[in-house]
Symmetry: C2
Subunit: 320 residues, 2 copies
């Protein structure tokens, strides 16, 4: 039996879907702040699916929810995806990431120790690295100097998991990935651009000068890679960068792609500066050689992922 926290979010929905297709019993937890209950409708009637609305940052509530959805010893592994995903919100108010990004991990580890669950698979982030300039970032690279509270609390989560491996944990997989795109989208640059163009079809205002360049991975490929690592990696601690095989695409590319799909006649207006908000890393390069050696590589480039996600998000109806 698998437990998926953040199970009603973008990655959670797609992961739960894949796990159910494998015949697994899956318990999804979500506080339904960004994740949406309507997204879960697709699992209605599928055998093995259970859901509980709970905020993992509330340890007492988490304990109660787990006691209700599973008998002791049933849950064998935890996919811990629950986190704040609004990085600018966490820059303005550090307690957002302390609570939603770190305490969720801290509490899940406490609950796992109590329930004797020994395997965690954790969605970390490229943001733990900070700015490496032109250096290519490998999993063992240092120093780690996150520049957002989100990145800081993802690194804190990794550190807490690392320490737990010395006590009760037997295995931890840590997935470090950049921006994820796809459906059901709840937030993010493509989602925002689609929404802006729906509100005012004649123009699209973009934060920054559009030159900001980042890799984007499609959620389908991300989930495929996570499952591949879970199946194939063999260490106690398996840390993997997961990213497309390129340096990314610019905000300008994303704006034009979304504009062409949603409102081809709209004018795009850019701001100034190479980053949208404090704590945003303007450019980075990721090594995925470790994942390549394990035997997995993405088929979609960042441009492919963005184009596909833009079409999917534009076609997404509320609650889909």
């Amino acid at each position: 039996m698998h437990l998926v926290t953040g199970g009603a979010g973008l990655i959670g929905i797609n992961l739960v879907d894949r796990l159910l297709s494998r015949g697994e019993i899956v318990i999804a937890l979500d506080n339904l702040v960004r994740g949406r209950e309507t997204y879960l409708r697709r699992f209605a009637g599928r055998p093995g699916f259970r859901f509980a609305q709970v905020d993992c940052a509330d340890l007492a509530a988490l304990r109660r929810a787990l006691a209700e959805v599973a008998a002791p010893g049933q849950i064998r592994e935890v996919w811990h995806l629950a986190a704040n995903s609004d990085i600018p919100a966490g820059v303005a108010e550090p307690s957002v990431d302390h609570r939603n990004t770190f305490l969720t991990t801290f509490n899940i580890l406490i609950a796992m120790r109590e329930l004797e669950i020994h395997v965690i698979r954790f969605s970390s982030s490229s943001s733990i690295y900070g700015e490496f300039g032109d250096r290519i970032i490998e999993e063992d690279s240092g120093p780690l100097r996150p520049i957002s509270n989100y990145g800081a609390m993802k690194l804190a989560s990794e550190a807490q998991i690392s320490a737990a491996l010395e006590s009760f944990l037997r295995r931890a997989d840590i997935f470090r990935f950049p921006n994820v795109v796809g459906i059901p989208a709840t937030h993010g640059v493509i989602y925002d651009f689609v929404a802006k163009l729906r509100r005012a079809g004649d123009r699209l205002d973009v934060l920054g000068d559009g030159s900001q360049c980042k890799p984007y991975i499609h959620v389908d490929e991300l989930v495929e890679a996570m499952l591949f690592i879970a199946d194939r990696a063999n260490d106690r601690l398996n840390v993997f960068n997961i990213a497309p095989p390129d340096d990314g695409v610019t905000v300008r590319y994303i704006a034009e792609t979304v504009r062409d799909i949603v409102a081809p006649a709209a004018e795009i207006r850019y701001g100034s500066g190479d980053r949208g908000w404090v704590g945003d890393v303007p450019k980075f390069r990721y090594s995925t050689a470790r994942l390549d050696r394990l035997g997995w590589r993405p088929k979609l480039t960042s441009a492919d992922a963005v184009s596909r996600a833009a079409r999917e998000i534009a076609a997404q109806r509320h609650g889909e």
Copy 2:
């Protein structure tokens, strides 16, 4: 005006003493759980010294204390030393280090932002690195895989400081050091051995087989190095290993040194295994080349530091 958190602990007392000698005004904060008020008596009558008993993990209490001891704009820099220092206690119960090691840092940063204090100097730890085996640990080494909750929450603190440098902080000095010895001692292996021999003068029971080897720095030299870095380093973020110029001394050496001072006739009995408790790193090697390049190097070896501290602690009267 300097603020020193953990100001009644081993490092705090010695740092406050040095800062006062420089003519600085110093506010010491301490929850007096391990730090002791009696240690502060030495500052009675010295101009520029202020003290407030407060738990920095309680943000409301911290804000009240700071409002009482200083007018807005007076405090120019913070020496943040407050933390759990009982690593085994944090292994048994993760909330100890979350609260006392991480939340203290998290709250101090919130208070600093509110009071527009832009300089922090932070006592981090060699425990953030985890086990590097025979590799020599430099400040930029990776991966960082702490094996204790204490190390995890020190790394989390560094990460939060790193993110704060992107918003309101202008300068952060991060000191990473191993075990510190000296007086006033509140805990630690020498302190424990002295206490055990005082209780039962005929024998000394040692956890582990005595082969565990670690570097020890004397508090006088540590404080000297911290002040040197504060005075001489010039980057926004200055991360320095501070350690003696050797691989350390064994627990056996410490046991024999303390025995010879306190109860020369006592028998030393060893346990088994190369570490005293889960989360303890059995051996590590530290590079201090960066600090050497800055122009500071320790005069005492680990053996010197332990021998001197053993004599000091044996001569220490309660409340001294």
